[in-house]
Each structure stands twice: as structure tokens, then as C-alpha cells.
């Protein structure tokens, strides 16, 4: 990671900026801050950061509106949203409005840094991220995000709601090691006593439906002791 990578941190809570900004600096980033969406827009103009980390609930202009304004202006600067609560609705909204990723408060700062690195690695300058695509395609497998349906060889596949969210997340984060904890946070929204097992059960369901062999996976690869990785190339539309 080049030490010049500039990140704009947007949050109306001074305590969060005060503690998070130095941590990000120590993690090797250059950090600019803003207290709301309006300030953020101005800072994006003047500082041209490479990535924005933004809270959702803020006065004047909230994170969601900031995101909408950027995307309407065809500005595809990577944005990570800090959602307030783990509500599925809010996560879905974050995706719809073209966020590159999201992380639930409260979070471990290390986790945020991992997210930032992953998003920067994935981002293609000036182009919409996969997470903002309506249609995801990977060989015979396709995912229609508007209708929330998945197809294999043009035939619809039947998945439980959780497996569907899991597949969506994996497909929008190809070639990235996603930990079980992260998947839990994404799919369940809160920690769960039998968490890792629940994730494994859903991945097993996905593999069964996709006809994927765990020892020679076409789609979902197991990273022993860590998590999963969507190993195939994904095209977004």
C-alpha cells in the first residue's frame, strides 16, 4: 500500500474521528476528515481522496445522500458506509445506492483497515464497483439483484434467503478472502453462538445447489481455518 493513499473519513461524532483518524494514519494512510455529507463533497473536490469512509446518520447531508449525489454525478470513488445498526434493510439500501462495502458499528478498527485495503484492491478507477451492479455474471451462473434471483445455465436455482445473501456477497467480492465472522455480520447482522457452523451450513447448501465440488471448486473455495473465497471471475452490469 502506498503511503500516499488518501482517505476521507466522514463522521459527525468527534470522538470517532479523533480516535479512528490517527489509527488509519498509523496504518499507512493519509487521512482527511469531514463532519457531514456537505463537507465531504467539498473535500472530495478539493482533496481528491482515493476512498471515502462515511457514517450514515449525520446532520445536513447524511451518508446515503452523499453516496447518491456522488453516483448521480457519475463519480465512482470507492465508498465504505458505516451503518448504524445491523439491519438487513439498511444493508440492502447501502448496496442499492452503490456503496462498495459496509461495516456495522461498533467495529474493530483493524477490520475497517482490512475492508479499505480490499476495496482499494478491487476498485477500478472511474468504473462502477461490482457491488453497484444489477446483474452479476460468472460463466453459467448469474445473479439478478433487482429480482433477487439466481440462475445456473439460465435455470433459476432455489436457495434459502440467507444462502442467497451469502452468494450475493461472495459474488460481489470475488477473489477476496472473506472470513466467517465477516459473512456472519453480513448475512445474520449480529453475532451468533453457532456462527461459523451456520456459515458452513449455508456454504454447503450453495455448493450443493451450484453443483460445486469442495475439493475442486469452480466457485467457492475454502480457505482452511479462515473463511471462503469466490474464486471465479465476476462480470457486473
Amino acid at each position: 500500500m502506498s503511503p500516499q493513499t488518501c482517505i476521507l473519513l466522514v463522521d459527525d461524532e468527534a470522538a470517532i474521528i479523533e480516535n479512528l483518524a490517527p489509527f488509519l494514519v498509523r496504518s499507512g494512510f493519509q487521512v482527511k476528515t469531514a463532519l457531514n455529507g456537505e463537507e465531504a463533497l467539498a473535500a472530495i473536490q478539493s482533496e481528491s481522496p482515493e476512498l471515502v469512509v462515511s457514517d450514515v446518520l449525520m446532520p445536513k447531508m447524511d451518508g446515503r445522500e452523499l453516496l447518491r449525489t456522488l453516483r448521480r454525478a457519475d463519480n465512482w470513488i470507492p465508498v465504505i458506509l458505516l451503518t448504524q445498526v445491523g439491519e438487513a434493510f439498511e444493508r440492502a439500501m447501502a448496496l442499492e445506492e452503490g456503496a462498495d462495502d459496509y461495516i456495522n458499528k461498533p467495529f474493530e478498527p483493524h477490520e475497517l483497515v482490512a475492508r479499505i485495503r480490499a476495496v482499494l484492491r478491487r476498485a477500478k478507477p472511474g468504473k462502477p464497483p461490482l457491488s453497484a451492479a444489477w446483474q452479476l455474471t460468472c460463466g453459467d451462473l448469474s445473479f439478478d439483484r433487482r429480482a433477487r434471483r439466481a440462475y445456473l445455465c439460465s435455470k433459476e436455482i432455489i436457495l434459502t434467503p440467507k444462502a442467497l445473501i451469502l452468494l450475493e456477497y461472495l459474488m460481489t467480492h470475488p477473489d477476496e478472502l472473506v472470513t466467517r465472522e465477516r459473512l456472519l455480520d453480513v448475512v445474520w447482522g449480529w453475532d451468533y453462538p453457532v456462527g461459523s457452523r451456520a456459515v458452513d451450513t449455508r456454504v454447503a447448501e450453495l455448493r450443493r445447489v451450484l453443483g460445486d465440488d469442495a475439493s475442486k471448486p469452480r466457485y467457492i473455495e475454502t480457505v482452511p481455518g479462515q473463511g471462503y473465497r469466490f474464486a471465479a471471475d465476476v462480470e457486473g452490469k
Binding site: G86, A88, T160, W190, P193, V194, A198
Partner: protein, 299 residues
């Protein structure tokens, strides 16, 4: 309350019985003609109208009273919850304040590391509390992820999770699930949430028992329900505390000093209620406790 409506029906029933007797027997069922002057009829109608109005007023008042009581109860619940939340936050916060004060004067790196560790434990405690609160509030509103749930599989899996824990190995754990004449039915439910509920009951049983105690989980089919019991030979819950254990953040005298958010049973109850089931408990001090969860099969 219900019983009172019986008195409303009583005159109708009596009248019907008398009429039937007259119709079906040889008693003299003669035609009667009644006559009255207009003044008396108007007076009579006035009395009847007044009685009906009185009845309507009484009913409305009762409804209002029930609503007021519900509001009072709601306010009382809220106050109680805030008081408990305040209490739950105070302890970790006090520890964090003390830890930070220590950090500002401590110089020895080892001592600093110990203090940091303890502060981060307290932060973790608060984080868990917040996560549990969120879980509870989401549980009450988010749609259930319903699918056919094989009860035998669910109970065995959850039981295995508990058995794996080191503290559980010091207790005598048994699981009894019927296989004959037929296994437990498949029910319609949210698999993950049901695992969470059963897991919470088992975790509680482990938490409140001593090494050597017995914990039994048994399940059986009862009509259109699946009944799951989690029983332990722990210290039991005093009778006076039993109605309160389901409340958020409630801690009985025996639960002080035991790790936990105080939300476990509230979560269990919320999950069971969402599944249109019911959960009850029986307990005897110094003998133990048994939780009984009933879930409708409805497939």
C-alpha cells in the same frame, strides 16, 4: 371477565328452555295479548334506552381502563428497563474509568499491558450487551426465515455444540430424543433462531450449575406440538423470582456474579413467541430447574 358474559346469556337460555317446554308438552300455550297506554309505553322505552346507554358507558369505561393500565404497565416496563440498563453499564464503565486513571500514571510496560487488557475486557462486555440488545429488538420485527426444520437434527447439533465446551464436560449431560415408534416431527421454523433459543437454554443450565451436576435435554411429541425440556440439578430459582426471569436485563439474586447480559431468557422467549409457541419453567430451590418449550408443528 369471560365468565361475566355468561349472565348475559342466562335470560335467553332460560326463556328458550321454558318456550321449548311449552311447545313440546301439553302445557297450556295460550295466546296472550298485552295492552298499555301510550304514556306507559313511552316510559318503558325510556327506561330500556337508559339501561342500554348505561351498559354502553360501562363497557367503554372498562375498555378505557384497560388501555390506561396498559399504558401504565408500558411506562413501568420502560422505567424498569432503563434502570437496569443504567445499572448494567455502570459497572464496566467504572472499571474502564479506573483502568484509564491507572494508565495515566503507570509506567511499567507489564503493568500497563495488564491494565489495558482489563479495560478491553470491559469494553468487550459493553459491546456484547449492545449486540444482544440489538439482537432482541431485531428479533421482534424482522421476518422469520421459515423452512422445514428437522427437530432431531437441530437438537443433536445444538447439544453437540454445548458438549464441546470445557465447562460442560464437568457436568453430566444427557440428551434423549425418541426414535420409536417414530422420530420427532419436522416443524416449520427459523432454523438459526431455534438453535439460538435451545443454545441459550443449555448455556444457562451450564452456567448456573456446579461441576458434577446433571443437565438433561429431552424432547417428545405431544399432539400438534414438539416439547423440548432442558432440566438441571442446579440451585433452582426462588419462587418469588420466577415471574421476572423473562424480563430484559433482570438478574435474580443467584445470578449476580454470573457472567451474562441478562438478556438470554428474554431472547429465548422472543424466539418462541415468534414461532407461536410457549415457554414455561418449573423450579425448586436447591433441587433444580426445568424449562419447557412447546413449538407448534404446523407444516
Amino acid at each position: 371477565m369471560r365468565l361475566r358474559w355468561f349472565w348475559v346469556l342466562l335470560p335467553v337460555v332460560l326463556g328458550t328452555i321454558l318456550a321449548l317446554i311449552l311447545f313440546l308438552t301439553d302445557f297450556d300455550n295460550s295466546l296472550l295479548y298485552a295492552q298499555a297506554d301510550l304514556g306507559s309505553i313511552l316510559f318503558g322505552l325510556g327506561v330500556i334506552a337508559s339501561i342500554l346507554t348505561a351498559v354502553v358507558i360501562i363497557v367503554l369505561e372498562q375498555i378505557e381502563k384497560i388501555q390506561i393500565n396498559a399504558t401504565i404497565e408500558f411506562a413501568e416496563n420502560r422505567r424498569r428497563f432503563l434502570r437496569r440498563l443504567d445499572h448494567e453499564l455502570k459497572n464496566p464503565l467504572t472499571a474502564i474509568l479506573a483502568g484509564l486513571a491507572n494508565l495515566s500514571i503507570l509506567e511499567d510496560p507489564d503493568e500497563r499491558a495488564v491494565t489495558l487488557e482489563s479495560v478491553s475486557t470491559q469494553v468487550d462486555r459493553m459491546r456484547k450487551l449492545v449486540a444482544e440488545l440489538r439482537k432482541l429488538s431485531e428479533l421482534e420485527t424482522r421476518p422469520l426465515d421459515l423452512s422445514p426444520v428437522k427437530m432431531t437434527e437441530l437438537l443433536e447439533e445444538t447439544f453437540a455444540l454445548i458438549e464441546d465446551e470445557p465447562v460442560a464436560r464437568e457436568r453430566i449431560l444427557t440428551l434423549s430424543i425418541p426414535r420409536a415408534p417414530w422420530p420427532l416431527p419436522t416443524i416449520s421454523g427459523d432454523y438459526d433462531l431455534l438453535v439460538l433459543a435451545v443454545h441459550n437454554l443449555l448455556t444457562n443450565a451450564v452456567k448456573f450449575t456446579e461441576p458434577g451436576d446433571t443437565i438433561e435435554m429431552r424432547a417428545f411429541e405431544d399432539g400438534s406440538q414438539v416439547v423440548i425440556e432442558v432440566a438441571d440439578t442446579g440451585p433452582g430459582i426462588p419462587e418469588s423470582e420466577i415471574p421476572y426471569v423473562w424480563q430484559e436485563l433482570y438478574r435474580g439474586a443467584g445470578a449476580r456474579g454470573v457472567q451474562g447480559s441478562g438478556l438470554g431468557l428474554a431472547l429465548v422467549r422472543a424466539i418462541v413467541t415468534r414461532h407461536e409457541g410457549e415457554i414455561t419453567l418449573r423450579s425448586r430451590p436447591n433441587e433444580g430447574t426445568v424449562f419447557t418449550m412447546r413449538l407448534p408443528v404446523r407444516m
